[in-house]
Every structure is written in structure tokens, then in C-alpha cells.
Amino acid sequence: MNKIKTMLILMLAGTVTFTVGLWLYSTKSELSIIEYTTAGLVFVVVVFSLVIGFKRLKDAKQGIPPEDELSVKIKQKAAANAFVFSFWLWTMIILFMGDKEIRPTIPIGIGIIGSGLIFIGLWVYYSKTGLGNGDSN
């Protein structure tokens, strides 16, 4: 099961990289700073996924469980808080971009990638600091 999960993470990272690469390659017009930033942020998410995927494979080879009860709880707490923070992100996007004449894909893209980055940030934070006694039960 863990091996399947790891392969799915790596396949997803590969698919996203291929899609973004294809988008950058096939775009005829000059890319704007927002589009370059979006591609950069997608790159960060992909690199993070690859690091996690390869770490899981390495752990599995050494007989270390890729996931245990603490790592699952950290992931759940990061996801739950990322969900709440992403509401704020979407509110900001609507406030600042709602009236501007831009392609609708840009705020949607920023929202989706932003939510992913918030999750990564919280996951790294909880992985470093732990959950504390009050949160782990």
C-alpha cells in the first residue's frame, strides 16, 4: 500500500512537471511575471513531492515505515489548518483581483497553488516542532 502511495506521488509530480513544461513550451506569446511566478511555485510543489517520494522509497528499503501514527497526525493537522488558511487566501484573491480584468485561470491557479504551499509550510512546521501534548490526542 505504501509503495503504491509513493508511486502515485512520484507519478503525480511527473505529470504536473510534464504539463507545466508543455504549457511553457507551447505558449507563443511572451510570458508575464505572474505566469513565471506561477510556474516557479508549481516547481516548488513538484520538488517537495519528489523529495517526499524518494525519501519514502529510501525509508522502505531500510525497513523504516514511511508513515506512522505521528506522521499521519501531522499530515492531518497540516491539512485541516491549510483548509482554514486557504479560505483567507481565497478571500484575499477575491478582494484584490475580483474587479481586475485578468484571465480567470490566474486567480484560480494562485488559489490552488497557494493552498498547496500553505499545506507544505504547515507540514514542515509541524514536522519540526511536533504536535505538543494537547494536540496529539
Binding site: I64, E69, S71, G130, G132, N133, S136
Partner: protein
């Protein structure tokens, strides 16, 4: 919650990695348990206590 895991590991000459392997968790989980930054599940507490041949309450010291 305080634990005696570090002290008991030293007594039994176990590394964090050895203990982690014995109870099938990642080493980071043992690190956070020793620092008192994680309350384990009942099963994990039981497994750890069993490694040291002690009762759960002799390994995990619950604050009053």
C-alpha cells in the same frame, strides 16, 4: 506528559533507531516522545512499555 524513555534506553543500551524499529515507528516519533512533545496512542505506549518490560505508567508519567 513526561517519559522515562531516554533513561530506559540508556539502561538497555538501545538507540532511538533501535527502539523505533522495535515498535515499528519512525525515529522522529521517538525523538518527540522523549522531548514530551507528543502523546502516543495507547497501543504505542503499550508497545514501548513492553520493550522495557515495564507497565505503561512506569514509562509515561502523566501530570497531575
Amino acid at each position: 506528559m513526561e517519559t522515562r524513555i531516554k533513561e530506559l534506553r540508556a539502561r538497555d543500551k538501545l538507540t532511538q533507531e533501535d527502539l523505533a524499529k522495535k515498535v515499528n515507528v519512525r525515529r522522529e516519533t521517538i525523538v518527540f516522545l522523549e522531548k514530551g512533545k507528543y502523546n502516543p496512542s495507547l497501543k504505542l505506549a503499550y508497545d514501548i512499555a513492553k520493550v522495557f518490560n515495564l507497565a505503561i505508567e512506569e514509562v509515561f508519567l502523566i501530570d497531575k
